[in-house]
Assembly symmetry: C2
Amino acid sequence: MNQTLPIPFDAREFQQELAQLGAWIASYYARLPDLPVLSQVSPGAVRAALPAAAPETSEPFDALLADLDRIVVPALTHWQSPNFFAYFPANASAPSMQAELLSAALGVQGMLWLTSPACTELETHMLDWLAQACDLPARFLSSGRGGGVLQDSASSAVLCALLAARERATGGDGNEQGYRGGLTAYGSSQAHSSLDKAVMIAGIGRRQLRKVAVDANFALNPDDLAAQIAADRAAGHTPAFVCATVGTTSSLACDPLPAIGRICRDAGLWLHVDAAMAGSAALLPECRALFAGLALADSYCFNPHKWLLTNFDCSCLYVADRHALTAALEISPAYLRNDATSAGAVLDYRDWQIPLGRRFRALKLWFVLRRFGLVGLRALLRRHLELAAALGAWIAADERFELVAPVTLNLVCFRYRGSDAQNQRLQRLVNDSGRLFISHTVLNGQHVLRFCVGQGATGDSHVRAAWQQIAHAVNDLNI
Amino acid sequence: MNQTLPIPFDAREFQQELAQLGAWIASYYARLPDLPVLSQVSPGAVRAALPAAAPETSEPFDALLADLDRIVVPALTHWQSPNFFAYFPANASAPSMQAELLSAALGVQGMLWLTSPACTELETHMLDWLAQACDLPARFLSSGRGGGVLQDSASSAVLCALLAARERATGGDGNEQGYRGGLTAYGSSQAHSSLDKAVMIAGIGRRQLRKVAVDANFALNPDDLAAQIAADRAAGHTPAFVCATVGTTSSLACDPLPAIGRICRDAGLWLHVDAAMAGSAALLPECRALFAGLALADSYCFNPHKWLLTNFDCSCLYVADRHALTAALEISPAYLRNDATSAGAVLDYRDWQIPLGRRFRALKLWFVLRRFGLVGLRALLRRHLELAAALGAWIAADERFELVAPVTLNLVCFRYRGSDAQNQRLQRLVNDSGRLFISHTVLNGQHVLRFCVGQGATGDSHVRAAWQQIAHAVNDLNI
């Protein structure tokens, strides 16, 4: 045999290195609270530290760990820091990491039931577990005509839903003859940019996407939706798709699902509901009013990879009619045909998504749900809600600041009572301090600061210190 | 504080459990050669073994490990088995698994450069490393107008390429006004089904996808391509996109890139080259002739997650003009704007892909390339080539069998000299034995057996035993 033949998996070496890596990860988590949250490196710094070409021969494991500290850590924005309050949480957890390792080690493909039955069936089951735990409408359970599937992201989920809607509205013509225009889609002016991207990808076009007006709390105005649908129909368009949001990215606005659902039902439009971050709150009975009306939706998405201790990627897409989804995405080449599929006895998830291949992601949900239990997950969500509410109260009590949107769940949108430039400067000051990281949005034409609570280790002390940092930075606004 | 508040990451517990999990994985790999490769469970078996609802309270880690053995392992089709010869290899390795764990632990998002500079820069750099190691055309390097990006799969890669082609051909109108038909796309009759799926998703439609004739070795016939493009143009269509393949899924046919490239260049079509599995062979100088002409391609894809010891997902997409790609996929909401992006100083990979969020997948390539070195990876590829060639020779020497396609790299397509029913029965016999797993395709209207060599631990003994099992099973063909 060739002397240089590598051993892809050496059990003893693997376990020794895994212990080293585990210790490195433990050390990273210990350092996390003190690391500057937003990376301070300049563009090109990482590449400048790397060799110009791949090594010809093997390097020792220790060299990799050393380079993690030397090159990688300084160039990370630390999403797992308890002081990360930007964008949305992407909280991870030990069970989720372990399951990700396990998935990599098993290395199975879940494109067909046959290519690993456990991958498909555990996924269907976990999606049912979550649907029940969140008290989602029964139509999304796999026991009926619907069911759930894991996607990589809410972006892919809304695209799949839009494609299903496109095919339903065109009688399959988009897939077969090609799409020839005429459909219209709707979302509030606050809907996520993934809706814009989906209408681009599906060939529907951004000019066919209507931005519906919102109320004072940035929630979709159903009267404007109904009016735009009617106007489009009168103009010869075919209204086909509405994306409503529970918890918009900008301000966590919650669109009125019952009214929107009735409009869609009466007008025959596909209703997709995007609750990417906020959806985890449906685990809490006291938050379920936000999801009332969901039974009128054709599809629903939320991301355990945001706020449910499951590392990215793990996005749940539910559909009420799984055949409407697979009709839009099904392909059947000879090399994938098999008895189980032909008999209709199984689900083949390749027909529920854009790519063909798929990882065994359900292991992550299985590990997270069993290790924390629903009681534990609910407790964590409630802590985040309490912390956000406390911050909201501090801001409301400080006359230098104003809340710009209601603190419905775990997001606080606020601004310094000054100019946009001052708020931008304030944001830069606190982010450059390294002690916390917040992001921003634009609401009512103003630069607004977003403070989102949701990392696993975030506690009272972190939110309190962050607020003190912000309040103190105001003194440095020499504008 | 709430008494039931979970600790998402407890360093001591995490490391203890990681050691247990590492030992379980080592044990799984030790058992792998003896496990039935194709899962023997019936539909529903996994779900029947699972509780109907998620647990309210935490379960011990040991319970999870026990359920892996009891429920999961019997319901896996063991892609990492040295006796797995079906579909394509999805070979994993210890460094790749470790990097996947690390990526989960760091838990960063790479949607923007800013959201973790290391995630973006290491990715750009690893794609450059691979491009250089494979001697890809310089136009795909990030130092010029091109560059590489990691996708989840070759399916997503061809979709992104098609969208770029659609927008180039419509002057951006597909994205803005909506796509209104008229474009045509081309691939050989042997092109992967992901091309069909991409034309569906992009709204171009399957009837606008031309299946180009192939030669006796199942490679695309460039004369037929040119003729179909001319006929379509004469009929008022706008030819826009060609997908050529280096190593088709069915039979590892290699389309003639120089001729196809010249046709595309002269006619102004976007040429995408899909080398999902075979692309790893470009690491070997002796295989580079298969890739001649690649400098005429606009985009190129190959999957280290197939045949380069990097667990799924890790698919490399290269483009010659990155602005053509981002023009098709770019969206810019207020909440993602930042100085680094506005200054044009960085790449933001969200604009190179369908989803917004992205994992730190480049760590896998970094670990794999550094731990094995190019020398090690080349040695492994060469072993697989030798094993496939040996099997091909054995089959050619056995008058009961025939080779149906040349053994160009690591795939052997063959059949028993009998009926389709006999070949199907032969396939079932060997797969039901559990000792190996092969898949099939249809070539020239006949049921053909596919034997693909590429798992990390597959050696001479495994291929030899598999061939003996197949040859022996012929005696049981009581038809």
